[in-house]
């Protein structure tokens, strides 16, 4: 093995990789833009859709209108609802056909119960699976509650009581989680998963291009006849793929952090709530970057080995795509609420990183666990690199004899 040759191959592969549009997209464009697009795009889309849905007049049916004429009048005077006449039998079908959003039914003794100081009953019918219907339900409920408050106030006044008299105890909850923990909460679920995927996609295209792609173009043999040994070639290519994987991860982390900070200072409350990450501390960021090194090594070596077996770029894609699914499942662990990190998980690659990254982003630094995960992944990466080296030494793989 000669460091000089590894360096030669590495720099050439990086130059070649940076001239490849596909790799540039997966290595630079996607990690930089995925977070702002996801966070601001999605949150503003959701907000604007919700606003639109809220402003839109809802169609409702009212049953037993004659039993609660005042409340009916009150509901319709808000300007939020259009009333339609509908047989109660066909209500369920009409709801599922989206001919109306909700219906309210007053009991026959509604007004009477109110006057006598009893509880007057009404039922709201809606379809919880429909956002608009659910919105109509909550709007109807709010209006009825407000109406109820007015009645209560009048009744209390009649007996010389204040509103506070019927609310003698006020209980409040205070969140004592440190700001770093709160701020990282959303990030902690999302970032580990995204980082795993980004490290993988970042390595994918260069790995295929530098092996199967080179075979397909007929350039691999010209490299094999040079004084660079197989180990030099494997080393140079591995480092190039690793760089791509790591850069993708770093850019992803940077983009996520900047997006979050910008979200807090520049954008409105929705964006703030969505990004919810005022202070990702420097230690977290350093640990994140450190923890993705062995995992990027593992991805790079596995992808190189797999794609080297293929004769063409297309064949390599069919080998590599299933690996993506293998990565997605364990990476998803960070998304599972209440998923406890147990010792056994330390030995499951990807899942271990996903879970330990989640802890780190929440500001919990269990150093022994972090060290163990790093070590375990380093061992896996070592095995992966050894496998890649063996592949580069195999004539049957290089020439597909």
């Amino acid at each position: 093995m000669q460091l000089r040759q590894i360096k030669n191959i590495y720099f050439k592969e990086m130059l070649d990789t940076l001239k490849d549009r596909r790799t540039l997209i997966s290595m630079v464009i996607i990690p930089i833009f995925i977070f702002p697009v996801l966070i601001f795009g999605m949150s503003s889309l959701v907000t604007s859709q919700a606003q639109k849905a809220e402003q839109k007049t809802k169609t409702i049916a009212i049953y037993g209108e004659e039993y609660a004429p005042q409340l009916t009048q009150h509901i319709l005077s808000q300007g939020k609802f259009t009333q339609i006449k509908l047989e109660k039998d066909s209500l369920e079908k009409a709801l599922s056909d989206k001919r109306l959003e909700a219906a309210i039914e007053f009991s026959f003794d509604f007004e009477e119960a109110l006057n006598q100081g009893d509880t007057a009953r009404a039922v709201i019918y809606y379809d919880q699976a429909e956002v608009k219907s659910e919105l109509a339900e909550s709007q109807l409920k709010t209006i009825v509650r407000k109406y109820e408050e007015q009645i209560v106030e009048v009744k209390l006044k009649a007996v010389n009581l204040s509103k506070e008299a019927i609310a003698p105890i006020r209980i409040a909850s205070r969140n004592l989680a440190p700001p770093a923990k709160m701020s990282g909460f959303l990030l902690s679920m999302f970032l580990p998963y995204m980082l795993m995927i980004l490290c993988m996609t970042g390595a994918m295209y260069p790995a295929m291009d530098l092996t199967a792609g080179e075979k397909e173009r007929g350039t691999l043999e010209t490299l094999l006849v040079t004084p660079a040994s197989r180990l030099d070639i494997a080393g140079g290519k591995f480092l190039a793929v690793l760089t791509a994987s790591f850069v993708t991860g770093v850019l992803g982390t940077a983009s996520m952090t900047i997006t979050s900070i910008l979200g807090v200072t520049r954008f409105g409350q929705e964006a703030q709530a969505a990004s919810a990450s005022l202070s990702i501390n420097p230690l977290s960021i350093i640990m994140v970057l450190l923890l993705i090194i062995p995992i990027a090594c593992l991805f790079s070596s596995l992808l190189l080995s797999l794609s080297l077996v293929a004769r063409s770029y297309k064949e390599a894609q069919s080998y590599v795509s299933p690996l993506m699914i293998v990565v997605i499942f364990p990476a998803f662990a960070s998304f599972l609420p209440g998923f406890e990190f147990q010792t056994i998980h330390t030995f499951i690659p990807i899942m271990n990183t996903s879970l330990v990254l989640k802890d780190v982003l929440l500001g919990t630094f269990q150093w022994n666990k972090i060290a163990l995960v790093f070590l375990v992944n380093a061992v896996y990466a070592g095995i992966g690199i050894f496998l890649a080296k063996r592949m580069f030494e195999k004539e049957s793989v290089l020439f597909r004899i």
């Binding site: 050439k12 001239k19 043999e221 010209t222 006849v225 040079t226 004084p227 040994s229 004539e395 020439f399």
Partner: protein
């Protein structure tokens, strides 16, 4: 000089069983000589040349290339050979200059030596005017010139050429033929494989006819004619291979 000594390569194929791709071949090619390996497709030419260039390891036997053993000293061998085939390609996204610089570095050249050698090769082959163009944008002929430059940029004493004119038009083939003749003039050792009779007859000082991994006959064209009593190389070939 190249000296193949009982050079053998077997492959295990799941369907066809043991394949003797190269079977105990022996030949010598001296400096200043063009040695032709003539055979049908699948005769074992490519495997033989891959063994000589050390990209494949022999099952048994060995060969000496420029005085070094292909099994024991592959790195020494590699730095002394120029390898070219009709199929070898270049990196499409790099410029001609970047490609050649890369190979110069792989052959251990740096700094002034690298620039000097590049200049000589570019001028000899007429690459200078398109050296900064991406390989992707070059014509087949230009690409072949860059390929030749890649093979000879380190001034190797031995050239191993595996069907270097396959798929090339007449004009581009001429560049390869010129390369072979120049190499001979410079006293280099040239092994050249082909399945084209006229090319072998025209270029090679000595010819070996290879079939099913074995060399059937070796000699100059006139020696082959004397041994077989036939005049045309094609007739000689058909008789030997057909038997």
């Amino acid at each position: 000089m190249i000296e193949a000594l009982s050079l053998t390569k077997h492959f295990q194929d799941k369907k066809r069983g043991l394949i003797k791709a190269v079977d105990q071949i022996n030949f010598i090619c001296h400096p200043g000589e063009i040695f032709g390996l003539l055979g049908l497709n699948g005769a074992g030419k490519t495997t033989a040349l891959r063994l000589l260039s050390t990209t494949l390891k022999p099952t048994s036997g060995t060969a000496k290339v420029a005085g070094f053993d292909i099994v024991k000293q592959p790195q020494e061998v590699k730095s002394r050979i120029g390898f070219l085939t009709g199929q070898t390609a270049l990196y499409p996204r790099l410029t001609a200059d970047e490609v050649i610089t890369y190979f110069c570095r792989l052959y251990g050249m740096n700094g002034q030596l690298l620039e000097k050698r590049k200049k000589v090769v570019f001028e000899t082959l007429g690459i200078t005017e398109f050296k900064d163009t991406k390989v992707d944008k070059l014509s087949t002929g230009m690409k072949q010139k860059v390929s030749i430059a890649r093979a000879i940029v380190h001034d190797p004493p031995v050239l191993i050429l595996d069907e270097p004119t396959v798929g090339l038009d007449v004009i581009t083939s001429r560049d390869v033929i010129d390369l072979v003749r120049d190499a001979k003039k410079q006293g280099k050792t040239v092994v050249f494989s082909t399945h084209r009779m006229e090319e072998a007859a025209k270029l090679c000082d000595r010819i070996a006819i290879i079939h099913k991994g074995r060399i059937l006959i070796t000699g100059t064209l006139s020696e082959l004619q004397t041994q077989t009593g036939l005049r045309e190389l094609e007739d000689i070939f058909v008789r030997l291979v057909g038997e």
